[in-house]
């Protein structure tokens, strides 16, 4: 672990991450819930044509022979 950071991570930024993470968790939870409700009611919109991938990577290396 390299403690000699060459830029300031910001003390306030380090401390507040606990709260930001809690809110993020809540956002993710409620989004997921809304999605499930919509799915149940048949209101879920089909995925738009999107140029960006999802966060989870489809491992492309597995398709290629070594």
């Amino acid at each position: 672990m390299m403690y000699f950071l060459y830029f300031d991570p910001g003390l306030g930024a380090m401390i507040i991450q606990t709260i930001i993470a809690a809110v993020a968790g809540f956002i993710l939870f409620s989004k997921n819930l809304m999605y499930k409700i919509k799915l149940f009611l048949g209101l879920a919109k089909p995925q738009e044509d999107d140029i960006f991938d999802d966060l989870d990577l489809e491992d492309k290396s597995k398709d290629q022979p070594e």
Partner: protein, 459 residues
């Protein structure tokens, strides 16, 4: 042990540095980073990222007690954050978050998150700082979080609310846009969005509050890995869905300008003949709009750069690249009247456009429908625009709209009483100035238009 002069942009991170040797990009790793490097290598982490085209490929070429040397794939032209369109900027941000997620899952963490760690190559964003990964330590917050917000989230939010000119902020703030500034600038109603409220407003407040306190307090801050992943995941979803407020409708640019189908086709035929005779490895289209003309080329160079002052045009070009998985075009935003300057330490940390383009050495420069904007809108004398192109262009394909071209007439009219000053704008003066620095290879009037196209070779 050889000691090399580090590249002028490579001095911040004590883990190692980049140097250029015989046109090759090499990276020295210092002993202080050996443990991390070995772990990243032996765990297959580097291989995984490289195979998935997330990280610039490298090979280890030397290893001793003092240093390990890697040779990295050379990216022919580096674009900077302030040259990206909105969606390019988004992709760079998403790539950084994606890398942080993968890193966390493998027991590592991004130790920095500057936007300068990302550039574009082969049609996608790619991470170019191989040494940005460190071990993840349980229950510690993300040290690069604030940097990520200052480099990515801040500028993206400002662009969303105030237009894509805000993406140029890193030119002024090489270390990211100050949080208090982003927080103050954003509209009040953004405080009702929980993601913006926490990641911008609350963060800015917390930073201001703890600004004076001692660093040792940092030990107090703890955060579970799950919490950290929540931050990454929610930022990813938020940024992915960010859209510009302004209409970014684009698509039929070539229908909107004063070109008849005949003229357009003739222009394309002439240029195609010239390009076919040159068979260039690479080219730059200055003022190339959404890349329409580069895509019209029958001989496709290995690497094309397409720049334009219009962020929307670049964005449209970029979305075509994504949609059709094109790999040979690098689009970027550039104002020829104010090309990206050199910034940072010694004015050398980030290179100017001219520095980068002279190193890139395009075989061909195309400047179509540009000279009248430079000369009339920008008041640039022909001798000076000729000098500009001559600095980096071996072959120049330049279009000259005559005085009676409707677009030129419109630009001249906008000068009102000053119009007389532009008496110089004619074919004769143009040729005199350009043929001072270039030899004429061919000159073809474009059918059904008041435009002439020139093929010039630098003297």
């Amino acid at each position: 042990m050889n000691s090399h002069r580090p590249h002028s942009s490579s001095f911040r991170d004590p883990s190692g540095y980049i140097f250029i040797e015989n046109d090759e990009v090499k990276r020295v790793i210092n002993p202080i980073y050996f443990k991390q490097y070995e772990a990243l290598k032996s765990s297959g982490f580097y291989d995984f990222l490289i195979k998935n085209a997330l990280l610039v490929p490298h090979k280890e070429i030397a290893s001793s007690e003092d240093q390990i040397v890697l040779k990295a794939e050379r990216i022919p032209f580096i674009t900077y954050p302030y040259e990206w369109s909105f969606n390019m900027y988004k992709e760079a941000a998403l790539l950084t978050l994606k890398l942080q997620k993968i890193a966390l899952e493998e027991g590592f963490s991004l130790k920095d998150a500057t936007a300068f760690n990302v550039t574009f190559f082969k049609g996608k964003a790619i991470f170019i700082d191989t040494l940005s990964f460190d071990f993840y330590e349980e229950n510690t917050p993300w040290r690069a979080y604030k940097q990520f917000v200052m480099h990515f989230l801040g500028p993206l939010l400002l662009a969303k609310h105030y237009g894509n000119e805000s993406l140029g902020f890193l030119k002024q703030f090489i270390d990211g846009v100050p949080l208090h500034m982003v927080s103050k600038m954003l509209p009040f109603h953004t405080k009702f969005n929980p993601t913006v409220l926490t990641n911008i407003h609350l963060l800015a407040k917390s930073e201001a509050k703890y600004h004076e306190e001692s660093r040792s307090e940092a030990k107090r801050a703890t955060l579970s890995k799950k919490g950290l992943l929540n931050i990454v995941e929610s930022l990813y979803g938020f940024i992915k869905n960010l859209k510009l407020k302004e209409a970014s409708e684009w698509g039929d640019y070539y229908d909107k300008i004063n070109y008849s189908g005949v003229a357009f086709d003739h222009k394309a035929t002439v240029i195609n003949e010239w390009i076919a005779s040159l068979k260039p490895e690479n080219l730059i289209d200055v003022g190339g709009n959404d890349g329409t003309f580069v895509r019209k080329l029958k001989f496709a160079p290995k690497q094309s750069l397409v720049c334009d002052v219009d962020n929307n045009a670049i964005d449209f070009n970029y979305s075509q690249i994504k949609r059709y998985k094109e790999t040979s075009i690098i689009p970027f935003v550039l104002d020829v009247l104010q090309p990206s300057p050199a910034i940072g330490l010694n004015n050398k940390e980030r290179q100017s456009f001219l520095d980068r383009i002279t190193t890139f050495k395009p075989n061909v420069t195309m400047a179509l429908a540009l000279i009248h904007h430079m000369s009339i809108t920008g008041n640039v004398p022909f001798s000076m625009s000729a000098e500009f192109f001559a600095q980096f262009s071996e072959n120049l394909i330049i279009e000259f709209p005559k005085r009676n071209d409707s677009w030129v007439e419109r630009l001249l009219k906008s000068k009102v009483d000053f119009e007389a000053h532009f008496g110089f704008y004619n074919q004769e003066n143009f040729e005199n100035a350009y043929l001072n620095l270039f030899n004429l290879v061919e000159r073809v009037p474009i059918e059904d238009s008041n435009r002439i196209i020139y093929f010039l070779k630098r003297k």
